[in-house]
């Protein structure tokens, strides 16, 4: 029953899509129907899987690195007011530069391989993770910190034993966001210059007028993103439940 309820929106979306095909009758090179796309998915399953693996690797490595770097940055900023004054404006500036504009530069620096895409995924999630965790770190209830100080703890111990665990929910919500953003970064990186990956395959299919394959790739990207978000969300929920139990 629950599975059916989850499938309902999907079926509804497919029905809308098929309805548009029937009513508007667009040529298949503009909007292929669900059946055609399903066919392309099946025919190109090996190709899709091979390229999806590349993108998944980029996303996962970018996510892990971005999370660790964001974690370290947030703690550093929370510990040092002077670092905050120096680094925070830079962080905001880095976010005001459109990621698209940076992609060619990263390709120039890191080449056509995995590194440039990992850097893109990392960059796009670094800020949400850092700022969500930092905000949580600086809003640790004052009483807890004062209590720890009276007990003779230094700033480092207070950070490790009180502020970091207190801010864990903030870090987790940053990671939930990151799971949605990271694939965007990797795909953009692949558009700019790649010989493998789902972003590359999308452009290739477009260039060869294989519109049904292009749609198939979009579906795969969407499915991967949803799966990644679900996985991170599930993990975060389990961590939070364990903390409360």
């Amino acid at each position: 029953m629950r599975g059916l309820r989850g499938a309902l929106p999907v079926l509804f979306g497919l029905a809308l899509w098929q309805g548009a095909i029937v009513v508007l009758g667009p040529p298949p090179y503009i909007l292929p129907g669900p059946v055609r796309v399903a066919g392309a998915l099946w025919e190109n399953r090996a190709l899709l899987a091979e390229n999806a693996l590349v993108t998944i690797a980029e996303v996962l490595i970018g996510l892990a690195l971005g999370a660790v770097l964001g974690w370290i940055t947030a703690i550093g900023l929370a510990l040092s007011p002077s670092a905050r004054r120096m680094v925070r404006p830079l962080l905001v500036f880095s976010q005001s530069v459109p990621v698209f504009a940076l992609a060619p530069i990263f390709t120039l620096w890191f080449g056509y391989g995995l590194a440039a895409k990992i850097a893109m995924a990392l960059l796009i999630i670094y800020f949400p993770v850092t700022s969500a965790f930092f905000d949580a770190l600086v809003s640790t209830p004052r009483g807890w910190v004062e209590q720890a100080r009276v007990m003779g703890a230094g700033p480092g111990r207070i950070m490790w034993c009180v502020r970091v665990p207190a801010a864990l929910p903030g870090l987790l919500s940053g990671l939930r966001l990151a799971a949605v953003y990271a694939p965007i970064g990797a795909i953009i990186g692949e558009w700019v210059g790649a010989s493998r990956g789902l972003g590359y395959l999308m452009l290739l299919a477009n260039g060869r007028a294989k519109i049904d394959l292009m749609f198939a790739v979009v579906l795969v990207v969407a499915a991967l993103t949803i799966l990644l978000h679900r996985a991170v969300d599930g993990l975060a929920n389990r961590v939070e439940a364990r903390r409360r139990a």
Binding site: P141, G143, Q147
Partner: protein, 242 residues
């Protein structure tokens, strides 16, 4: 625990340009329970913060020191109105948090004993959300006892409890903290009348010691005639000062 020192304060406290504690001086007897009674906003908690070495945004124009001249840091425990238990730790881990913060190795056996003494036998593995308000404040008392400091600062620690729980906590705290230098900030005349070996009234008009008389038992019974009379006298003094 080392011999409890007395406490001395003299001066005033500023926060920016504002004065949060008017010029005053106070001395707290060593090894005795002193209640500092006064209306809200008169600067009682500020005074405690000065002895605890807290308040980065406060400027102490004067001194807050131990009577023996040695530094107070490391000899002071603080118990606040809110229990300040960390929600992700069990009661046992909350009691021993001070040791963890100082990187000391101290067994959980002591914590279990303390929890038993404050009446939380069998609840050591529970997290704060699974404890009642009274139980949480008992765990906070166990944490304060675990610190084993000669000076204990109490910042209205029982004011959030219902009457029966408050009376029980007062008895428990009085028994467990006996012999230490206790500075107990409260706005409740009945609490000061029960617990104070010395009672100091702090009002906008200034500081004055109220003779508490020698108690027959400590803490005084809440319904004893002398406790009720003292409560009445303190209430009158607060009314007159307002």
């Amino acid at each position: 625990m080392t011999a409890p020192p007395g406490l001395r304060f003299s001066g005033r406290v500023l926060s920016g340009a504002a004065q949060v504690l008017a010029p005053m001086s106070l001395s707290v007897a060593a090894g005795r329970w002193t209640c500092l009674l006064g209306p809200s906003g008169v600067g009682k908690s500020t005074l405690l913060h000065c002895f605890a070495g807290l308040g980065d945004d406060l400027l102490l124009d004067g001194t807050a020191e131990a009577g023996d001249g040695a530094p107070l840091a490391g000899r002071v425990a603080l118990m606040a109105q809110s229990d300040l238990l960390l929600p992700w730790l069990t009661a046992r881990d909350n009691v021993t948090i001070g040791a963890r913060l100082r990187r000391e190795r101290r067994g959980h056996a002591g914590a279990a004993r303390l929890l038993e003494r404050v009446g939380l036998h069998g609840l050591a593995g529970r997290k704060p959300h699974a404890l009642s308000g009274g139980q949480r404040q008992r765990a906070a008392l166990a944490r304060t006892l675990f610190e084993d400091c000669p000076v204990v600062l109490l910042d209205e620690p029982f004011s959030a409890l219902d009457v029966a729980n408050r009376a029980r906590m007062q008895e428990l705290a009085a028994a467990e903290l006996r012999g230490r230098t206790v500075l107990h900030v409260t706005h409740d005349p009945a609490e000061a009348a029960r617990l104070g070996e010395h009672i100091v009234l702090l009002t906008p008009a200034g500081v004055s010691e109220v003779p508490a008389g020698a108690p027959r038992a400590f803490p005084r019974a809440p319904d004893a005639d002398d406790t009720l009379a003292l409560t009445g006298r303190l209430t009158r003094l607060l009314l007159d000062a307002a």
